[in-house]
Subunit: 198 residues, 2 copies
């Protein structure tokens, strides 16, 4: 594994406090076939991880500072209900966001990974949002916004993948693998959502 | 609008038998902001539509014949429960699939479009699957596979977008617009799903 820093508050990958995913490893394998995820993608994600290491801060600053911060219906989820900033919440969740980039690239798709996907999703629903950080923020991030924002994540990651001078065939390969992994993850996240939090 | 052929069985865009989407036009506008969909994307989708007109048969044959047909847990949704083929069902839904490509490119994002998104989604759930064609097939397509297969749709469309010799900046623009539209649509489809059909 690879860490963006030591001791990321609330980052519980592999720990006992993480939810158990109701999804079986067999269903995960089938879902990987649906998204077209192959061993080649696994190799390209490792390469992407090498390329993105050291860039995760800039990436999350772009996502959170340059994009989400200017979209009120998204920005509110990292703010207090009156719209005032919650710097500690934002800082901690930004670090976890950075770590999620590396986990996407480096973590094997095993039971721990599946459980942490479920944990990530629950932390966007009423079940667990705000709890990790004790933050007085919105009750949940609607599923539609979680699914929709994937288009932004996929689009904006590409220049970072290309920034280390790899041949375009490898940049394409890294990007394809990234898009497949994110689509796989968001499909899993949908499992944690009750219908009324669409 | 643009049609792949006259009289597509079960294609009810804009007709009275189509479901009414519970989503408001205001929520649609917010969701378009989430996926980053802009007026530029609208223009690029029109260009994509011009490029893809005449290629929709080849595209759907690739999706259905070369990809889905070889993935049993996806292929079953166009087959009878004993696995035998349903040629009429497949043929009709293939034509609607072709038309969906053109609708993605040419239809404005208005109330009719929103309603038809909901209708498309319902036709993948227990509520309406098989009904249009009277087909004795699976009860529903799990939401996870609908979300996951987007990665395949997005990846495989690109060579078709590039096949008419447009400069790569325009192919990139068409592809970006396509990916945003599909992510928008699948986010809307999730609204029609009850949790147990994940």
């Amino acid at each position: 594994m690879r860490e963006v820093t030591e001791n990321i508050a609330g980052y519980g990958y592999g720990s006992a406090e993480v939810a158990a995913s109701p999804v079986s490893l067999q269903d995960l394998e089938l879902l990987k076939i649906t998204v077209g995820f192959t061993p080649d993608d696994e190799r390209y994600l490792r390469l992407a991880g090498e390329v993105l290491t050291g860039q995760t801060h800039a990436i999350v600053m772009q996502w959170r500072g340059q994009i989400i911060a200017h979209i009120p219906h998204l920005a509110q989820h990292s703010r207090a209900l009156d719209g005032s900033p919650l710097p500690d919440y934002l800082a901690a969740s930004n670090l976890r966001f950075e770590q999620w980039i590396l986990d996407t690239c480096f973590r094997p798709h095993d039971r721990q990974w599946l459980d942490y996907q479920h944990e990530i999703a629950l932390r966007h629903t009423r079940a667990k949002k705000n709890r990790t950080d004790g933050a007085p923020s919105t009750a949940y991030v609607p599923l539609r916004d979680a699914i929709g924002f994937v288009a932004v994540l996929n689009d904006t990651i590409r220049p970072y993948l290309a920034s280390r001078g790899h041949p375009s065939v490898d940049v394409d390969g890294m990007h394809r693998a990234w898009c497949r992994s994110i689509q796989l993850q968001v499909a899993l996240w949908a499992r944690a959502y009750p219908s009324e939090e669409w």
